[in-house]
């Protein structure tokens, strides 16, 4: 029988460019923070799950081994997970299965990325693409996303100004986030005037190269209530992956993320959510680029398909809106250390617990959703949290 699984603590640290700490020191920092916040000690941890997307960023292959000592994993079962940017949510999903299966009562989930040890993050990203058909063209992430963003705006009739509003919202929200790398007070005109990387994506539509880590501690229903009177439960999880041959998918239009709709549907079915627009109180949505927040809001059912422009125009996703999205600042304001985008999940937990500090939204948050995206238009992973 599947056991219920709760989050009983999270570990946070400041996201920065060129962090002074080593990968091991970063992980120790968030592990200690998560243990303190949950009232647990190292010996309470039964197993550890690591998530990191691309080793070439930090230049240490099998970097998971560096995480063993610092995560409390010494002489314990550990495992590393990697699904590009969606590592951010697929790793806590792997932790969830560890606990839901009944194998372990308390599991530490660690996600980390040290992107700025190298001097050419885009050259690292290029090594992700197919070596014969794609890589020689010199593809990099800005143009990969330019291709997708153009298809998305074209398909649904959305605008660059709507994208710009997402940047203003998220970087502005990050002003309240003590862990944020890139808080900024901006206007739509500031974003529109920033240089194009690849139409329609401009510099202020992107997220920064970041170093950082996050920790989440999961507990089975057998122990969660001893640790927390009102636990935050993992109510639903879902994942989807589409073909690596993006030029020949059945749905040729890159503007619609079929795999993300699938992931969301799985998570909502499991959580018993039929109308996410009414039932989700808060969302942390994977936003490495402004238009990705818009696509993900649609795929997660937080607005109608094609309705993300209207959602931001009407202020629905603002911090004080009806359905706030990324009150933490998201990847754009907080920083985007690929796998450590698990921060999206941490902020959902903090919002439900009322512990989001100056980022706390002015409404009751009982149910929240977070997602992660990655690869060559590949993966989506979704997690729904809620209290009883």
């Amino acid at each position: 029988m599947v056991k219920r699984v709760a989050i009983v603590g999270v570990g946070m640290q400041k996201f920065e460019f060129r962090k002074r700490e080593t990968v091991e020191e970063m992980i120790f920092d968030v592990t200690r923070d998560a243990l303190e916040n949950s009232g647990l000690s190292k010996d309470d941890i039964d197993a550890v799950v690591f998530g990191s997307a691309v080793d070439a960023f930090c230049g240490i292959h099998n970097s998971d081994k560096v995480a063993i000592d610092a995560s409390g994993g010494l002489l314990k079962p550990t495992m590393r997970n990697s699904t590009s940017g969606s590592t951010a949510i697929s790793t806590p999903i792997l932790g969830y299965t560890h606990v839901a299966s009944g194998m372990y009562d308390i599991v530490m989930v660690i996600c980390f990325e040290k992107m700025s040890e190298n001097h050419a993050a885009q050259a690292v990203f290029n090594t992700v693409y197919d070596e014969a058909f794609v890589r020689p063209i010199g593809l990099n992430v800005p143009i990969q996303c330019g291709l997708e963003a153009r298809a998305y705006l074209h398909r649904y009739g959305l605008t660059e100004r709507q994208m710009a509003k997402v940047s203003v919202k998220n970087r502005g929200n990050a002003l309240a986030n003590p862990y944020a790398q890139l808080p900024m007070k901006l206007t739509v005109e500031d974003v529109m005037a920033s240089p194009y990387l690849s139409w329609p994506v401009k510099l202020l539509d992107t997220s920064p190269v970041t170093d950082g880590a996050r920790a989440v501690i999961l507990a089975s229903e057998d122990v969660a209530k001893e640790l927390d009177d009102d636990p935050v439960w993992i109510k639903g999880v879902g994942r989807g992956a589409d073909s690596v041959w993006f030029m020949g998918r059945r749905n040729a239009d890159l503007g619609r993320l079929d795999y993300a709709y699938l992931a969301a549907q799985q998570a909502y079915d499991m959580a018993g959510i039929r109308n996410p627009m009414a039932e989700i109180d808060y969302a942390e949505v994977y936003d490495p680029f402004t238009y990705k927040e818009m696509q993900h809001c649609e795929a997660l059912g937080l607005c109608p398909e094609g309705g993300a422009g209207r959602m931001i125009d009407e202020g629905i996703s603002l911090k004080d809106g009806d359905l706030p999205v990324n009150a933490s600042g998201g990847l754009q304001g907080e920083g985007n250390p690929i796998g450590a985008g698990m921060s999206r999940l941490c902020w959902c937990y903090l919002q439900i617990k009322g512990k989001a500090g100056a980022c706390q939204v002015p409404k009751d948050v009982n149910t929240a959703v977070a997602n992660g995206w990655g690869g060559m238009y590949q993966y989506n992973a979704v997690m729904v949290l809620g209290r009883d």
Binding site: R18, R20, A56, G59, A120, A121, Q122, A123, N126, E131, A132, F133, V134, P136, I137, G138, L139, N140, P142, I143, G146, L147, E148, R150, A151, H154, P195, Y196, L197, S198, W199, S243, W245, F246, M247, G248, R250, A252, D253, L254
Partner: protein, 151 residues
């Protein structure tokens, strides 16, 4: 002693050379491209889809029941973009343009450079055609770029 606020680092590089196999499907594709200026796909005999780039199996029917077919070096622009940065992060004065072209008579396509056009000349859905290199070597650069179709 290092000054307090200067981060100490060890500097190094990872330089590794590879020989990536083109594989059963890739060898045939790049041989035909080099020797005959042909773009080839594989057709699934069960569902009829024609895959470009070609593969030895159909991921939907999950069978290895494929036949080789030639596809047109012409197609439709699915999306396109221009980049003002080189892949190693350097700012460029003139952008380079990329597009995804869905090839006629197939269910797939290629991502490649776009040429003989300015960004303002391009729109999603327009017909494109491949321009081949004269001296071909058996790699994706045997196609120089796609350009707006001339007729």
């Amino acid at each position: 002693m290092a000054k307090k606020n200067i981060k100490m680092t060890i500097d190094g590089e990872i330089q590794i050379n590879y020989h990536w196999s083109l594989g059963k499907a890739g060898e045939r594709f790049f041989t035909e491209l080099r020797d005959n200026k042909r773009i080839m796909g594989t057709k699934c005999r069960q569902c009829g889809r024609i895959l470009v780039p070609p593969r030895i199996f159909c991921e939907e029917c999950f069978v290895e029941d494929m036949e080789w077919v030639q596809v047109e070096p012409k197609g439709t622009l699915v999306t396109f973009g221009e980049s003002y940065f080189s892949t190693d992060g350097k700012k460029l004065k003139d952008p380079w343009m990329l597009g995804i072209v869905r090839l006629n008579g197939s269910d797939g396509g290629l991502i490649h450079f776009l040429g003989e056009a300015r960004p303002e000349d391009l729109q999603i859905g327009m017909p494109m055609e491949a321009v081949f290199k004269d001296k071909r070597e058996g790699n994706i650069m045997d196609i120089l770029y796609f350009r707006p179709a001339k007729n």
